[in-house]
Amino acid sequence: MIDIIISHYNYWVVIMLMMAGFYTVISRGNLIKKITGINIFQTSVFLMYISIGYVSEGTPPIIAEGFTKYSNPLPHVMILTAIVVGVSTTALGLALVVRIKEAYGTIEEDEIHDQDMSL
C-alpha cells in the first residue's frame, strides 16, 4: 500500500489538479475564468507528461561529463510544443472574450444567453 502511494502520489495529485481545471472550465459561466480553467487543465497535463519522463536521481537531458542518467527528452519536447499550442489558444480565446464584451457588454455566459434569447 505504502509502495503504491510512493510510486503514484505524483500522478494522483496531478490528476486532482487536472480535474480542478476541468471543473472550472465546465462549471463556471465567466468567460475569463473559463480560460483560466483551460490553462490549469493543460498545465496539469503537462505535469503528467513530465512525470512520465522523470527518472529518479537523473539530470536534465543536457549531455555533460560525469552524468549518465538523464531524464527522457521526448516528453519535454512534446510539452514545449503543447505549451505553445496552449498559449495560442489562450490568446485567441481572450481575443474572442474582448470582442464578446464589445458586442454584448458582458462576459457572463448567462447574460449573453439571455440577450440572445430576447431577440
Binding site: H8, Y11, I40, V55, K69
Partner: protein
C-alpha cells in the same frame, strides 16, 4: 530525499492554488493565482529535470498568458465573477467520473521515476546515446526539437502564426466596432513621444487612410 520533499511541497502548493482559483470570485485575484500556479509548476518542472520546459512555462504561463489575461480584464472591466444561479451538479459528476477513470488508469502505469519503464527504454536511448554524434548538439531537447522531430516544431510555429493571424483578424483593428467609452489601460503611458512631430503625423494619416478603406 530532498527532491521528494520539494516535490511534495510544490504539489501541495499547486493543489491549494487550484482550489483557491475555483473558489475566488475576484477575477484579478484569480489571474494572479494562475500566474502563481504557473510559476509553481515551472518549479516542479525543474525538480523533475525538465529545464527547458520550466524555462518556457515560466516565460509563457507566468509571463505572457498572465499579461494577456490582465489586459483582457482591463478591457472588459469586469472584476467580479457573478455567482452562478444554478448548482453545478452535472459538471461535478462529469469531473468525478473523469478523475476516477484517470486514477483507474494509473494502476498499471510505470512507477514515478522508474528507470526501467517503457518510456525510458524505447526510443529514448538513441536520443541520449547518439544525439551528440548525430546532431552535434549537447542539449538533447534542442536536438530532438529541432532535428529528430523538427517537423513538429514547424507545426508548432504554424500554430503560433495562426494565433497571430487570428488576433489580428479579431482585434487587430485599432477601433472597436462600437465606440467604447474612452479607455486607458493603467499601464499606458501618456508620455509625449520623443519622435513626435514628423513621424507621428505621417503614421497617423496612414492609419486614417487605412480606416477609410
Amino acid at each position: 530525499m530532498i527532491d521528494t520533499l520539494i516535490d511534495v511541497t510544490l504539489l501541495a502548493f499547486l493543489a491549494i492554488t487550484a482550489i483557491a482559483i475555483i473558489k475566488m470570485r475576484n477575477l484579478f485575484v484569480v489571474i494572479m493565482l494562475f500566474g502563481i500556479f504557473s510559476l509553481h509548476s515551472a518549479g516542479l518542472f525543474v525538480v523533475m529535470d525538465a529545464a527547458d520546459v520550466a524555462f518556457t512555462e515560466a516565460a509563457v504561463g507566468a509571463g505572457i498568458s498572465t499579461v494577456l489575461m490582465l489586459a483582457t480584464l482591463a478591457l472588459t472591466k469586469n472584476h467580479k465573477e457573478k455567482i452562478p444561479t444554478h448548482h453545478a451538479r452535472i459538471p461535478l459528476l462529469v469531473v468525478l467520473i473523469t478523475g476516477a477513470a484517470l486514477v483507474y488508469g494509473t494502476y498499471d502505469i510505470p512507477d514515478f521515476g522508474d528507470p526501467h519503464s517503457p518510456a525510458q527504454q524505447h526510443v529514448k536511448p538513441r536520443y541520449i546515446e547518439r544525439s551528440v554524434e548525430e546532431t552535434g548538439t549537447p542539449n538533447i531537447v534542442t536536438a530532438v526539437l529541432a532535428s529528430y522531430r523538427g517537423y513538429d516544431t514547424l507545426g508548432e510555429l504554424t500554430v503560433i502564426f495562426t494565433a497571430g493571424i487570428g488576433v489580428l483578424l479579431l482585434i487587430g483593428g485599432r477601433i472597436a466596432d462600437r465606440p467604447l467609452p474612452t479607455f486607458r489601460p493603467n499601464f499606458s503611458s501618456k508620455l509625449r513621444p520623443i519622435l513626435k512631430d514628423k513621424f507621428r503625423h505621417k503614421f497617423r494619416t496612414k492609419l486614417r487612410r487605412k480606416d477609410k478603406e
